[in-house]
């Protein structure tokens, strides 16, 4: 066992990864983390399309794209759900976000101050909520008051951008504060446009879940410094989730009914699930640094055991509460942690032992936010036209267009492949160009 006082020396990051550049704070870069993020974004792009082109296979329909690259419930909606890698996606994203957030928080705390680090986390939290609002945007329902609100937002954003780039604010803490004010303002202004309930938007949306996960990860990081003790927190949350689901199950109510403060509320199972992954990720990052001279020890004595234990417990828990993507339950969370640990290790090993990386993934990972927004834009036309009808309708349309006898004809399949490949290639090229131009737009 390595004494705690010898563990946490941030310079170890410099020793280990000194050849790498920076997005997690000055003079630091973790290529393997970008690789992980890049892989998730590439999968996200594919999954957006497989989701749009899903089909009712039980009714003889034929989807587009590999079946294992879609959500299990989207393939066949039975109880219990089939679990694919895609079902683990959000928890895996939270995991890697938890790791990168821990790195940046500790870096900012050390090199700037605690308040600066907290404001950066707050900004990230509100940006994610704003993104949740953005993706929920209903383009069919635009009214005059919406246009007024969004115009105010545009002016507000341009003003913030101008102020942010003024010499006076550029390299000071005020710049970060400006970013924080912009994110809070954006969330408030865009909220006025929505008819959706607060609960759905701020507590139930995937991006909102990521926001809460980030927040709880940093709170736990500050509350319990020792990761060997902090890991008890996700264990407790796992038990809480398990027991609540077993005893109460789905529960919801409306508070202050009939008043202006009417508020729909339910047990936040998803937030509990995502927080477990996020807090575990903070521990994982600190375990990786268990020994200052080599990250290997941390992997060996903490992360491999974590992976094995979570995997075995997942199998056991799955007998009682089968994994379910829609509530991020205990079984699914355990599997996601096990798999995320494995993938983290994989990318670390590829980078540090095999000296191998896929450059495309680096480019994608470095521009996570830009790529995320770009994939929304690119898939929008497909979503708009085909989401309600699915892949089978698309196949039939192509079949009729080409006057073919079969919806699984090779020509139809080739058209489907092209529809998938074009946006993927476009995204990869965009990421490469952004990297060449040294543009980094991350969350």
């Amino acid at each position: 066992m390595i004494p705690m006082d010898k563990r946490r020396e941030i310079p170890s990051l410099k020793n280990q990864d000194s050849q790498l550049g920076s997005n997690f704070g000055p003079n630091l870069e973790f290529s393997w983390i970008y690789q992980f993020q890049g892989m998730l974004l590439l999968f996200l792009m594919v999954v957006s399309l497989t989701w749009i082109f899903s089909a009712e296979v039980r009714a003889g329909e034929f989807p587009i794209g590999p079946t294992w690259l879609n959500f299990g419930f989207s393939y066949a909606d039975f109880y219990p759900s089939m679990i694919t890698l895609v079902d683990l996606g959000i928890q895996m994203f939270m995991f890697i976000l938890g790791i990168s957030l821990t790195i940046s928080f500790k870096k900012y705390s050390q090199e700037k101050n605690h308040l600066y680090a907290w404001i950066s986390v707050g900004t990230q939290f509100f940006v994610l909520l704003w993104l949740a609002e953005l993706t929920q945007l209903d383009l069919d329902a635009f009214y005059w008051n919406d246009i007024v609100v969004l115009s105010i937002w545009l002016i507000f954003t341009i003003s913030c951008a101008i102020f942010r780039n003024l010499k006076r604010f550029k390299s000071s803490k005020t710049g970060l504060l400006l970013g924080f004010i912009w994110s809070v303002g954006s969330v408030l202004l865009w909220f006025l446009k929505f008819d959706a309930t607060i609960w759905i938007l701020f507590f139930n949306h995937e991006l909102a879940l990521l926001a809460w996960g980030c927040l709880f990860a940093i709170v736990s990081l500050n509350l319990i410094k020792n990761p060997d003790r902090r890991i008890i927190l996700p264990v407790i949350l796992l038990c809480v989730h398990f027991l609540l689901w077993e005893v109460i199950g789905q529960w919801d109510t409306t508070l202050f009914s009939g008043t202006l403060l009417e508020f729909y509320i339910e047990i936040p199972y998803e937030i509990i699930g995502i927080s477990i992954a996020a807090i575990t990720a903070t521990c994982v990052w600190e375990w990786i640094q268990l020994q200052t001279t080599s990250f290997k020890v941390g992997f060996k004595i903490r992360i491999i055991p974590l992976m094995v234990v979570t995997f075995i417990v997942h199998i056991m828990v799955d007998f009682f509460q089968p994994a379910d993507q829609r509530v991020l339950n205990t079984s699914l969370t355990l599997l996601a942690i096990a798999f995320s640990s494995l993938v983290t290790m994989c990318f670390y090993v590829l980078e540090h032992y095999y000296k191998f990386n896929v450059r495309i993934l680096n480019s994608l990972g470095k521009n996570a936010l830009a790529i995320f927004l770009l994939q929304i834009v690119l898939t929008f036309p497909f979503r708009f036209i085909w989401e309600s009808e699915g892949g089978n309708a698309f196949r039939i349309a192509v079949m009729n267009w080409l006057s073919l006898p079969d919806k699984t004809h090779i020509a139809v399949n080739l058209v489907c492949l092209t529809v998938f490949l074009l946006p993927i290639i476009f995204i990869i090229l965009s990421a490469r160009i952004m990297e060449k131009l040294h543009i980094h737009i991350t969350i």
Partner: protein
């Protein structure tokens, strides 16, 4: 950079083999056996819901640890890691075959390596026959007089072989010929007791695929020494499979059923296109290339991984993604898509276990013994499944008797106890260096 020290924690003499024993390979084999053990159980306690039956109930065990088509028998099927099980096993067998073949041909001679490869081929076919006979006599446990004669003859030949092996041929290289004779005779003697036709027994079962593919892997290892060229044979086979599959799809209702009637009323009444053997061979050839890249072609193993294995790993995933649009992955007919995905995951496991072993110096405690006695574990799991078969045929049977929370707890026990027992057996056998292998 210097090559990392390879952990060979026992000398190869203790394993009665000519080549070193790699811990990462044992671990890799062990994880596949572990998944196999769970998959047999999830199969036994599958849900009936996906079959559209009115009495559908949830299955026992994680859904992703069963075959996709057992969850929902739809087209295209959903692919789980279990659907890749036999292909993953083929990949590991391909790596072992290449290590063993290269070592034997270098230390003793090409003839020895070849005879050993052919013995393994017949031994796998024989195991396939044994499992078939096991399931034939399972319902009433009755043997015909002919069965008894065949089994007694086989016991006589086996006893004679063992005696000769440990006396006359103990220190002679010709003992491999004795093993060849035994495996060929075993197949001939047991064949009349099997009721299925020649096609089914020798070309259309998982163990038969493994047998043929490992034989062809040895053939290509001899024919094309350079793995950079040999890999082209693998892609040639993928191309042949894709072409034939596409033709079969347009001609018949179900792609895997492209059969021809040959000699009605004989054991050769119907034969088909050996789709699965083609792609299993492609997987095996890929595995031999990966093995050579890692252990033979480059001055250091890390060079082989960096320059060939990892680029191939990325390429094969892209290949899978593209091919899946044309011919979706299927478990019942190993399409190029499924084969490519299996190669991807097999290499993923390989590089991870290799790194754990040589970089982190870590290992999973129970995987090594499981991997070292993979064949024995495969055979032993049949025993508990045999007993389970007396009581329950699927999850519905089980849950009708044990509903609710109690059923879940008992189900957990039914999964964990036999697996724990098998791990204990494997561990004890490993302690005493007892291994069943071909």
């Amino acid at each position: 950079m210097n090559d990392p020290p390879i952990k060979i924690n026992e000398t190869h003499k203790q394993f009665h083999s000519l080549h070193p024993r790699y811990r990462w390979l044992d671990q890799l084999r062990g994880v596949i056996v572990f998944f196999l053990l769970i998959a047999f159980l999830t199969w036994q306690f599958s849900s009936t819901l996906g079959l559209g039956l009115p009495f559908g109930v949830p299955p026992l065990g994680p859904t992703w640890m069963n075959h996709g088509f057992k969850y929902s028998n739809s087209n295209p099927p959903i692919i789980t890691v279990i659907d890749m099980g036999s292909s993953l096993f083929m990949f590991v067998l391909g790596i072992s075959s290449a290590i063993s073949f290269n070592s034997k041909s270098k230390k003793i001679g090409l003839w020895y390596a070849w005879v050993s490869g052919i013995s393994r081929f017949f031994a796998l076919l024989w195991v396939n026959q044994v499992t078939k006979i096991f399931y034939r006599i399972l319902p009433d446990w009755k043997l015909t007089r002919f069965d008894v004669i065949c089994i007694l003859s086989w016991i006589f030949i086996t006893t004679l072989t063992i005696i000769l092996r440990i006396t006359l041929f103990k220190k002679s290289n010709e003992k491999i010929l004795l093993m060849l004779g035994w495996s060929v005779l075993s197949v001939i003697i047991w064949f009349p007791t099997v009721e299925e036709n020649i096609w089914t027994i020798f070309f259309n079962e998982t163990l038969a695929y493994l047998a043929w593919a490992s034989l062809f892997a040895v053939f290509f290892l001899t024919l094309v020494k350079n793995p950079d060229r040999r890999i082209l044979a693998s892609f040639g086979l993928f191309a042949i499979h894709i072409g034939l599959w596409e033709l079969a799809k347009t001609k018949l209702t179900h792609p895997t059923h492209w059969f021809f009637e040959v000699l009605p009323g004989t054991p050769l009444d119907v034969v088909g296109i050996p789709f699965n053997i083609i792609n299993m061979t492609a997987i095996a050839i890929s595995a031999t290339c990966v093995s050579d890249w890692l252990l033979k072609s480059y001055p250091t193993q890390l060079d082989g991984i960096k320059k060939r294995i990892l680029p191939y790993w990325v390429f094969i995933l892209c290949f899978h993604f593209v091919v899946d649009f044309l011919q979706p992955a299927r478990h019942d007919g190993i399409t190029a898509s499924l084969a490519a995905l299996s190669i991807f995951f097999a290499i993923f496991f390989l590089i991870m276990f290799y790194a754990w072993d040589t970089y982190f110096d870590a290992k999973m405690p129970f995987l090594t013994p499981l991997g070292r006695n993979a064949l024995l574990m495969f055979l032993l799991q049949g025993i508990y499944l045999f007993f389970y078969g007396f009581f329950w045929f699927n999850a519905y049977d089980f849950r009708r008797r044990f509903p609710g929370l109690l059923g879940n707890a008992i189900g957990l026990g039914l999964f964990f106890v036999p697996i724990a027992l098998l791990i204990c057996i494997a561990w004890v056998l490993d302690r005493f260096k007892i291994y069943l292998k071909f």
